[in-house]
Amino acid sequence: MSKHTLSVLVENRFGALSRISGLFSARGYNIESLSVAPTQDPTVSRMTIVTMGDDRVVEQIMKQLNKQVDVIKVWNLSQHDAIERELVLVRVAANEKSQDQVIRISQNFGAKVVDAGSGSMSLAMMGDEQEVENFLNLLKPFGVKELIRSGLVAMLKNGG
């Protein structure tokens, strides 16, 4: 079992998203994250799906995705050189004493303080899987009150 990032180009049509997410649940494949939005061509959407499975399962997933009438093309980005990013919004507990430390961590990771209230700070951070994990690990001791992740978006390097 390993993690795979699939990039799926689909027709931006009614029901396409539920058809694809429904395929995963109907056939017992898991989805770790899924993000979808239109591309530069408004008739086409890009889905980035992170899934777990052994080679055989992932091969079946790819085939089942390709079989969908709405799907234009599927890439397994884990087999290619790809750029992967995720957006994270996190609210951490912060008092006057810890505030500076939180800001310093944020700066190290290029995160932005997007809101600050009494006793907490909200940060916005973008990075690849490893960076996000490191960032969150460092914030953990302060107390993470809320965490929202966008799910991975990814792109082939050099335009595929």
């Binding site: 689909v10 027709e11 009614f14 029901g15 539920s18 058809r19 429904g22 395929l23 109907a26 055989r56 091969e59 079946q60 085939k63 089942q64 390709n66 079989k67 009438v69 709405d70 799907v71 234009i72």
Partner: protein
């Protein structure tokens, strides 16, 4: 030109070549039914929507054209779903049109509202919710295109009432194309070359053919491959008719109720040529022991069927007929096969056939279901009838004891295993092939699942014949209880049942009941060759089993065989081979 949505819909159906439709009206379909009232389409009013979908599939499978069914919103749509799921599993091209509540009411829990598109998403090849009358023409054309191309399947179009009742500009489009949908037809030449080399190298090859042969119209190509290369053939249930059942190279069906020789041949073969088949669990049994010594060539139009259950050494994605043409051509330039090995292999298979042929113990006093089927075959073989079946023992005995020489003459629910399929499918088949004799071989359980269609055949005088192998049991489940659950016949006895002869008569259909072997021939002759529908209730031996059987998840060596033909023994219990 401006037209009402309902007119655009019906005009487009006619343009797509629709001559027959099966369905049931309802409130949101009234505009469409009003247009159908004076359209040339022969609309068959069924008595339950499920039957409309099965009849559309029977029509599609007998004719090779797209079958069409229609039902209203809510319960009409949900009643269609079993038939849609059946068509999905068996890759049959049907277009299902459902009515929907007006667009403003969608999502309001309106009267007779159900999310037809949501409900059928996982059992259709594709589906649509029409929201604008201007899209009707293109959508219906796309639906037919998707249903019949690639790996065929059902497509549903949900039509809200206001969409069918508003006027819209009707502009004909000639051709539909979808950038995201381009089925591959031609096999990769390198793979075809590898397959040809593998076949000519093989000493013990076997062709394992499925429904793809029939769908792509490749029976002739399969026969040429088998004959030119001296390769024995076995077929799946869905493949029956894809290679002549009377051909000396035909080993019979394989799998759970397949012949001993076919299953042994697959076990021992060194090259398995899978053509339009999908390695279903009823075929493979224990996957690790399925063709364990073979180089597997797998030809299928659906890439997701390849290596799904059993890995293929030489996968070839493409249309079966096209790929077989490539393969036959390629084989002309590969090294010739060694015919001494092939002869030896065919001899060996002949030995297995002799060792354990398909057979049953005939009886003078009681009716054997297999005897009834053999008799039907004997009396009708010259007419090449279309046979449909229900699901269970009736289906397996038909597959074993009837010999299908032509494609599209055997129509059965393979993947989904839907009881109640055969009778409405027979209605559809008869409308597709009015000149052919059409017989539904049924069980008493299955027949009761769509028995109301007797009214349909009576109303339209559709002369289909229903042969009930009546053992007053849900026979296949009872058989499993006998084999695997200590004969504890939990809820499988259905001896409380109507007199089927009288039921038929009550509907205005000719009914018969047969209890003695001597009456089988005369009654069949009268009932089958009349020009009216008929129901024949054969009171067969109640605890007859379908043998051989490979218990689920087991291998050929675990086969429970029928008792040997010569030794007469009263017990019908199978003998286990080890």
């Amino acid at each position: 030109m401006e037209k009402f949505g309902a007119e655009i819909l019906v005009d487009t159906l006619i343009e797509e070549g629709v001559e027959v439709m099966f369905g049931y009206p309802g409130g949101v379909l009234l505009y469409i039914f009003d247009v159908l009232y004076d359209s040339p389409i022969n609309f068959i009013l069924v008595r339950h929507e499920q039957a409309a979908a099965h009849a559309a599939e029977g029509y599609a499978r007998a004719s090779g054209k797209v079958g069409v069914c229609m039902a209203t919103s809510g319960p009409g749509a949900t009643n269609l779903t079993t038939g849609i799921a059946n068509a999905y599993m068996d890759s049959s091209p049907i277009v299902a049109i459902t009515g929907q509540v007006t667009t403003q009411l969608i999502g309001q829990d309106a009267f007779q509202e159900a999310d037809a598109v949501g409900i059928t998403r996982s059992i259709t090849k594709y589906n649509y919710l029409l929201k604008d009358a201007r899209d009707i023409h293109r959508t219906i054309k796309e639906a037919f295109y998707i249903a019949r191309t690639g790996r065929p399947g059902p497509v549903l179009v949900d039509v809200p009432k206001d969409v069918s009742s508003t006027r819209a500009e009707f502009e004909k489009i000639e051709k539909v194309g979808l950038r995201s949908y381009n089925p591959v037809l031609k096999g990769n030449p390198k793979q075809v070359r590898r397959a040809a080399e593998s076949i000519s190298r093989a000493r013990r090859p076997v062709i394992y053919g499925g429904g793809g042969i029939i769908i792509s119209g490749a029976a002739e190509e399969v026969r040429r491959l088998a004959e030119s290369q001296q390769i024995p053939v076995t077929l799946t249930l869905m493949g029956l008719g894809g290679f002549p059942g009377t051909h000396p190279y035909f080993m019979g069906m394989l799998g759970m109720h397949g012949t001993w020789s076919a299953n042994r041949a697959v076990r021992d073969c060194d090259c398995l040529i899978a053509i339009g088949a999908r390695f279903d669990d009823r075929v493979t049994g224990k996957v690790d022991e399925f063709a364990p010594h073979a180089e597997i060539i797998h030809i299928d139009i659906d890439p997701s069927s390849i290596a799904k259950n059993v890995p293929a050494h030489i996968p070839i994605v493409g249309d079966v007929k096209t790929v077989l043409h490539q393969l036959l051509k390629e084989l002309q330039t590969t090294a010739p096969f060694d015919s001494t090995h092939r002869e030896k292999w065919l001899e060996e298979i002949g030995g297995w056939e002799e060792e354990h042929p398909l057979h049953y113990h005939s009886s003078k006093n009681s009716l054997k279901p297999q005897f009834v089927i053999e008799k039907i075959y004997e009396l009708t073989r010259r007419e090449k009838p279309v046979i449909t079946t229900e699901v269970g023992q009736n289906q397996m005995w038909t597959a074993q004891f009837f010999k299908f020489d032509e494609p599209r003459t055997f129509i059965s629910s393979g993947g989904l295993g839907t009881m109640g399929f055969g009778f409405p499918a027979a209605i559809g088949a008869k409308l597709a092939k009015p000149e052919r004799l059409v017989i539904d071989i049924a069980g008493d359980g299955s027949f009761q699942m769509n028995i109301q269609e007797l009214a349909t055949v009576a109303q339209y005088k559709i002369p289909v014949k229903v042969v009930i192998l009546n053992n007053q049991y849900l026979g296949m489940v009872r058989q499993w209880q006998e084999h695997f659950y200590n004969k504890r016949y939990s809820h499988t006895c259905i001896s409380c049942q109507p007199d089927f002869k009288k039921v038929a008569e009550a509907y205005g259909v000719k009914g018969y009941r047969v209890e003695q072997p001597a009456d089988v021939g005369p009654v069949l002759k009268e009932a089958l060759f009349s020009d009216e529908p008929a129901v024949i209730d054969f009171r067969v031996e109640r605890e007859e089993n379908v043998l051989p059987i490979i218990p689920p998840g087991k291998s050929v060596y675990d086969t429970i065989l029928a008792p040997p033909p010569k030794r007469r023994q009263p017990s019908r219990k199978g003998r286990r081979m080890k």
